[in-house]
C-alpha cells in the first residue's frame, strides 16, 4: 500500500506539473515528436534496404557461364566440384534452351516480344551454373576458383550490386544515426530545461517537502514522471502518425524493398515498441539528470 500511495502521488503530481508548465511541456513534447518522426523515417528506410540486401543475398550469388559443347561427364564433375566448395548452398544447371525461355519470359513481363531476327538465325545462349551461397562472403573465393576452371567461359557475380547497396545503406545509416543523435541531444536538453524550470518554479514546495521529511523519491519521481509523460505523449502521437501513413508505405516495403509480407505485418508493432522505448527513455533520462543536479545542489 505505501508503494501504491507513492505511485499514485507521483503520477498525480506529474500530471499537475505537466499542465502547470503547459507551454514548455508541450514544446518539449513537440521536439520528442520531431525526433521520433525522424527516427521512424530512418528505421523504415534502413529496414527496407536491409531487406533488399537480404533479398539480393538470397538470389543467385555467382553465375558461371559454361564453355560450349561441354560433355555430360565434365558437366557432372564440374557441378560436383562446385557443390564441394565452402560457402556454396546449391548449384543449378541452366541449359541454353532454359536461358532462352527465361529471356523470352522477361521480355513478355515488360510487354515486349523478343526479336531474334530470322527464324533460322541459330542464336543460342550460354549454358550456365547458378550458384547460391550459404555464406555471401564466400563469393570472391568461389568466383576465383571458377575463373581458373577451363570449363567456365566467364564468371558473373552480384558482388558489385551487393557492395553498392551495402555502401548506400552504410551512408544512410551513418547520416541517419548522426541526424537522429543530434536531434536526440536537442530533445534531451529541451527536457532537461523543461524539468529544470518546473523544479525551480516549485522550489518552495520542494524545500517544504524536505523540511517535513519527504524522502528524495517523493521529491524526485513526480518530476521524472513529468519528463516521461513528455516522452510518452510524444511516442503515442508519433505512433499514430506512422500508423496513419502506414497503408501507403506497406506495399512499397513489400514491392520496392522485397520485404516479406509477414515481416511487413509485424513491422509497425516493432517500430511502435521502438518509438515508445526511445520516447520514454529520453524523457526519463532528461528529467533524471535535471532533478538529480538540483537535489545534489540543494543538499
Amino acid at each position: 500500500m505505501p508503494f501504491l500511495r507513492f505511485i499514485g502521488f507521483s503520477i498525480v503530481r506529474a500530471w499537475q506539473g505537466f499542465w502547470r508548465n503547459a507551454m514548455m511541456s508541450l514544446a518539449a513534447t513537440a521536439t520528442v515528436i520531431l525526433m521520433l518522426v525522424l527516427l521512424s523515417a530512418l528505421f523504415i528506410v534502413i529496414s527496407g534496404l536491409n531487406h533488399g540486401l537480404a533479398f539480393i543475398e538470397s538470389k543467385v550469388a555467382v553465375t558461371a557461364r559454361l564453355e560450349d559443347d561441354l560433355s555430360e561427364n565434365r558437366l557432372k564433375r564440374l557441378i560436383a566440384e562446385v557443390e564441394a566448395m565452402p560457402g556454396v548452398a546449391s548449384v543449378e544447371y541452366v541449359s541454353p534452351d532454359a536461358a532462352m525461355a527465361r529471356l523470352e519470359a522477361s521480355y513478355r513481363e515488360i510487354g515486349r516480344e523478343l526479336d531474334l531476327g530470322a527464324p533460322d538465325s541459330n542464336i543460342t545462349l550460354f549454358a550456365s551454373l547458378e550458384i547460391s551461397l550459404s555464406d555471401p562472403d564466400a563469393s570472391a573465393d568461389v568466383s576465383a576458383a571458377l575463373t581458373q576452371n577451363d570449363d567456365v567461359e566467364r564468371v558473373l557475380t552480384k558482388q558489385a550490386e551487393y557492395d553498392t547497396l551495402l555502401g548506400i545503406i552504410n551512408v544512410i545509416r551513418t547520416v541517419g544515426i548522426v541526424g537522429v543523435g543530434l536531434v536526440g541531444l536537442t530533445v534531451l536538453f529541451m527536457i532537461i530545461n523543461t524539468i529544470r524550470i518546473a523544479v525551480y518554479s516549485r522550489a518552495n514546495e520542494i524545500e517544504i517537502m524536505r523540511l517535513v521529511g519527504a524522502s528524495d523519491s517523493f521529491i524526485r519521481w513526480p518530476f521524472i514522471l513529468e519528463g516521461i509523460l513528455c516522452g510518452l505523449i510524444g511516442s503515442v502521437v508519433t505512433i499514430f502518425l506512422v500508423a496513419a501513413i502506414w497503408d501507403p508505405i506497406q506495399p512499397a516495403m513489400v514491392q520496392v524493398f522485397q520485404m516479406p509480407t509477414a515481416v511487413s505485418g509485424q513491422f509497425l508493432t516493432t517500430l511502435s515498441l521502438l518509438l515508445l522505448a526511445v520516447g520514454l527513455g529520453v524523457g526519463a533520462i532528461g528529467s533524471w539528470i535535471s532533478v538529480r543536479s538540483y537535489l545534489a545542489a540543494a543538499r
Partner: protein, 247 residues
C-alpha cells in the same frame, strides 16, 4: 581550554534525562572561511522551552541548520532525538526531519493551497495514508484554532493565522522538537503573544521548543532558559534568564 571549562560546567548529572538536543565542541566554518560557530556545547533535555538569542550574524541560523542536518559541522558532535547526525546516512535524514518540526518568520506556506491542503501536504509527501490525513489535519487545525479557516487560502489569512498554519504543519508528525526561527518577527505584539501562548501549549504537551528570537519583551517575560550566541560563540546558557545579562 575555554571549551574544556565550558564542557565541565555543562556536565549532565547521571540521573538527568537523555538530552533531546546535544552539541559537543561543535564548530562550523563555511568554505569561504567565515567562522559561524566555535566550540559550542549545548544539552537540551526533553520537554524544555529554550530561547536562542543573539544579534544578526551571531550564528543562530547555522545552529538551526545543524540541528535539521541542512549542514554538517566542521568538527564536533551533534545529536538530535538520539541520533548522531554526523554518522547518519543521507537516506536517514527524512526520518530525522519527521522528529523535528520547524517554523519560520516568513511562514513558507504554499499560496495556491488552502489551509487544510497546506497541512495535509506535509503528511501526503511523507506517504501518510488518506485516512491518517483526514484524521490528523482537522486535529491540528483545532489545536491552532483554525478549524473554521480550513478552506481559506493563505492570502485570505492574517499574519498570525498564517503562522498558526505553519505551526500546525510543523506538528503533523508529532515531532519531539519544534524549532521556531523568529516566529514572531513579522507579527504585531498582540499576535506575537498569541503565537507564544500556542508554543507554550505545545511545549506543555511534551514537545521540546527551541525558539530563535530578537524579541526581548517575550524572552524577558517568559523567564525560560536562554542560549545567547555572539560571533559564533555560546556566550551565555542560563535557566530562567532575561534577553540581556542582568547584574
Amino acid at each position: 581550554m575555554t571549551s574544556l571549562l565550558r564542557r565541565r560546567t555543562r556536565t549532565i548529572p547521571n540521573d538527568a534525562p537523555a538530552p533531546v538536543i546535544s552539541m559537543v565542541d561543535v564548530g562550523m566554518t563555511y568554505p569561504n572561511g567565515k567562522v559561524a560557530l566555535t566550540d559550542v556545547n549545548v544539552s537540551i533535555p526533553r520537554g524544555d522551552f529554550v530561547f536562542l538569542v543573539g544579534p544578526s550574524g551571531a550564528g543562530k541560523s547555522t545552529f538551526i541548520r545543524l540541528l535539521i542536518r541542512e549542514q554538517l559541522p566542521t568538527h564536533g558532535q551533534v545529536t538530535v532525538a538520539g541520533r548522531d547526525l554526523l554518522r547518519m546516512r543521507r537516506s536517514q535524514v527524512p526520518s530525522l526531519r519527521r522528529r523535528i518540526g520547524i517554523v519560520f518568520q516568513d511562514f513558507r506556506l504554499l499560496p495556491n493551497k488552502t489551509v487544510w491542503e497546506n497541512v495535509a501536504f506535509a503528511l501526503e509527501v511523507t506517504g501518510a495514508p488518506g485516512a491518517t490525513i483526514r484524521r490528523r489535519a482537522p486535529q491540528l487545525l483545532n489545536l491552532v484554532g483554525l478549524h473554521d479557516h480550513a478552506h481559506h487560502l493563505p492570502t485570505q489569512l492574517s499574519g498570525g493565522e498564517q503562522q498558526r498554519v505553519a505551526i500546525a504543519r510543523a506538528l503533523v508528525h508529532d515531532p519531539a522538537i519544534l524549532i521556531a526561527d523568529e516566529p514572531t518577527g513579522n507579527l504585531d505584539p498582540v499576535t506575537s503573544w498569541e503565537i507564544i501562548q500556542l508554543l507554550i501549549q505545545i511545549n506543555q504537551l511534551g514537545t521540546t521548543v527551541l525558539m530563535a528570537t530578537h524579541n526581548q519583551e517575550i524572552v524577558n517575560a517568559m523567564r525560560r532558559r536562554v542560549l545567547a550566541l555572539e560571533g559564533g560563540m555560546l556566550v551565555r546558557d542560563e535557566s530562567t534568564a532575561a534577553y540581556e545579562r542582568e547584574y
